[in-house]
């Protein structure tokens, strides 16, 4: 679990790059349909729910529900994954077992776009946090969800209504989220003490729902621009721009 000494985050959605008709029809994540059309009979008394959105128009919704092979198991060793994004968890091949709770899901073909995302994986650790990842269109890896402040990765909900929503998209209108920052910035300083690290990705819904593009998908000549807005000792509102050009 990472440590952040100062809670800095506000995540803002970036200006969309959807076509006009897609902009008009992209339902806000908070309002998308959470109905699951068909669910299996779960063995666990407490299945855990997470919802992944795999397109920028918010049409491709993929439910993931964790279950157990028997009620007395400690580990959630069964995953129901909506492989065809039809809202049902009862189709063939949608029940996957792994005794460590780490599920290799192969490829996912988006039924709305025919885009093929590869190396799809979901893993839940022994503290209950879930990390989901895929190679977007077979290219750069997207992973999530990350917390806004110090805390675990995505924690699935006890019901579909409580499920966090993680937008696992490797293009479109990106948001920025802080990963780490010092407690304060030093005046008269522009060295490592004032270093702040950011993700670039997409905001979701619920705690620990930010997804990050893991690979260096931005060209090398594209940086983050940070504008510090402060009051000078002369009482004047001042702005100072810095380019954040490093990557790690």
């Amino acid at each position: 679990m990472r440590k952040i000494s100062l809670s800095l985050l506000l995540v803002a959605a970036l200006e969309p790059v959807l076509a006009d008709d897609q902009k008009a029809s992209a339902t806000p994540l908070e309002k998308i349909n959470r109905k699951i059309a068909a669910e299996p009979k779960y063995q666990s008394s407490a299945p855990l729910y997470g919802l992944y959105v795999l397109d920028d128009a918010h049409k491709t919704r993929v439910w993931a529900v964790l279950d157990k092979t028997s009620p007395d198991k400690k580990v959630y060793d069964v995953l129901y994954f909506d492989r065809n994004a039809n809202g049902k968890l009862t189709d063939e091949g949608e029940r996957i077992e792994n005794e460590q709770g780490s599920f290799e899901l192969g490829d996912f073909v988006d039924p709305n776009s025919n885009d093929r995302h590869t190396i799809v994986k979901l893993a839940r650790n022994n503290k209950g946090s879930v990390m989901f990842g895929l190679n977007w269109k077979g290219k750069h890896r997207v992973g999530g969800g990350y917390p806004k402040v110090d805390g675990p990765y995505t924690m699935f909900g006890k019901t579909a209504a409580e499920a966090p929503i993680v937008k696992m998209v490797g293009e479109g209108a990106f948001a920025v989220q802080t990963w780490s920052a010092p407690k304060s910035l030093k005046i008269g300083n522009s060295d490592y003490h004032n270093d702040i690290k950011f993700f670039v990705g997409h905001a979701g819904v619920g705690a620990s729902s930010f997804s990050s593009v893991m690979h260096p998908f931005l060209p090398k000549d594209v940086a983050l621009e940070a504008t510090l807005i402060y009051e000078s000792t002369a009482g004047k509102k001042t702005e100072l721009k810095t380019k954040l050009t490093s990557r790690c």
Binding site: L14, V176, I187, G188, F198, Y230
Partner: protein, 43 residues
Amino acid sequence: MLYHGPVGVADDAKPGKAILRVKIEPGKGYDSKPTEIAVLLEK
């Protein structure tokens, strides 16, 4: 992948609260609405 760097703070900055506005740099083909975060400036 994390994007990072030292944020410059000028000598004439007054200690206390400030705002940091972050976005993908303009003019590179990535339109963005900036994210604003609160920061603390100290000597």
